[in-house]
């Protein structure tokens, strides 16, 4: 008897900024949305994030950045996933991200960007609609 596939998502903070309040709130919202959330903590390198995402077999990685390095860090995660053949994992981003950066990030393979003020319910809904539990 097959049970229902449970969505697994990773919430990760790449780079050097030390503020993870937003990330924790998102993690909590995802949990309340019924997802299994793997939280990796602060100061992660893209390599560490990708390796953890593969070991945990997540469906999505949510990256949070407030320190301005998103133009390097976010695409780097996407590229590493590609390198590892794990680019079926959806990547989204959130945090302090200037409007003009968003098109370029999307071009680089980030599926969606959430900026401050995005309602939590909307983000959870977006994940439900756009991320499918991975199966072979």
């Amino acid at each position: 008897m097959q049970r229902e596939r449970r969505l697994r998502v990773m919430v990760a903070k790449p780079g050097l900024d030390g503020h993870d309040r937003g990330a924790r709130i998102i993690a909590r919202a995802f949990r309340d949305g019924g997802f299994e959330v793997i939280y990796t903590g602060l100061h992660q390198t893209p390599e560490e994030i990708v390796e953890a995402a593969i070991q945990e077999d997540v469906d999505m990685i949510g990256l949070s950045s407030l320190a301005g390095a998103h133009m390097y860090l976010f695409p780097r995660v996407v590229d590493l996933l590609k390198e590892k053949g794990a680019d079926d994992i959806v990547v989204c981003g959130g945090g302090i991200i200037p409007e003009e950066d968003i098109p370029r990030l999307k071009e680089a393979g980030i599926k969606e960007i959430f900026t401050p003020g995005s309602p939590l319910t909307e983000i959870v809904q977006w994940v439900r609609e756009n991320v499918k539990a991975r199966s072979e």
Partner: protein, 321 residues
Amino acid sequence: MGDAVEKVVAGDIRAVARLIRDIDDGVPYVRETLKALYPYTGKGYVVGITGAPGVGKSTLVDQMITHLRKRDKTVGVLAVDPTSPFSGGAILGDRVRMQRHSLDEGVFIRSLATRGHFGGLTQSTRSAITVLDAMGKDYILVETVGVGQDEVDVVRNAQTTVVVVIPGMGDDIQAIKAGILEVADIFVINKANREGADKTYNELRQMIEMGRAQREEAHWIPPILKTEALFDKGTEELLEEIERHRKHLEETPGPRDQEKKRARVESELADMIKSRLIEEGLSRIREKGDFDRAVEAVLQGKEDPYSVCDELVIKILAGTR
């Protein structure tokens, strides 16, 4: 399927990660894969680490990984956290404290949620242990919060069980006494720099003494260690004690150890049978629409749930002959 087995045995990270996911989600093919993997198991040494939330289990596990790696041992970690009974979601945060090992190919860390299925935690954790064992990990560390029956069952699967407490728990020790204290092979008082460490030590020692008096022969007396995991104090000593216990199990298995081994196999098999029976039974009842009909009957007040339950169970059992 044979492909998955080969990959797991060869240590392919993605294959292992996917298989554990499928075990957790109850995808039917995994049974056959687990059967095929079983012959490759038995080499990994399973250590359970349990204790109340906040005692520092993850930090301790993190240090254990470091020291085991220094000894050139490969390590698999299963970090179990509870599922919210309300949303069905879970925040799996134990990894945070072990994240520095994520780039080390000799370490595989996996977070598991309890999910609250019948036998869910025990069953899928046990299967995940099988996978990590088959992939060739020398040590498999299973970290779980020490509350509730499921968690106790998990540590029963371990060859060595470490129960972690902190100073000043006082009544808490009383509270967990009945549950996890008797499964402990080693006690660790973590955060031992805190006030009350000696008092906790004495309380534990007394409890061990009491336990010994009740048993005819005590082949293994659980040692009590003091650690400060955050500052990496006491980790080596803990690993030494684990080794000592392992040797003890191998070289001087007393009747009680044999019993324990037997009990482990018994409970493992009983659990497997239980969950298989329930899965099979429920799906058969649902398939034929009997379940929905029974629900309707109870809803409309035509039947009581006890009678329809009896009817359904008897019907399935009759059908199996």
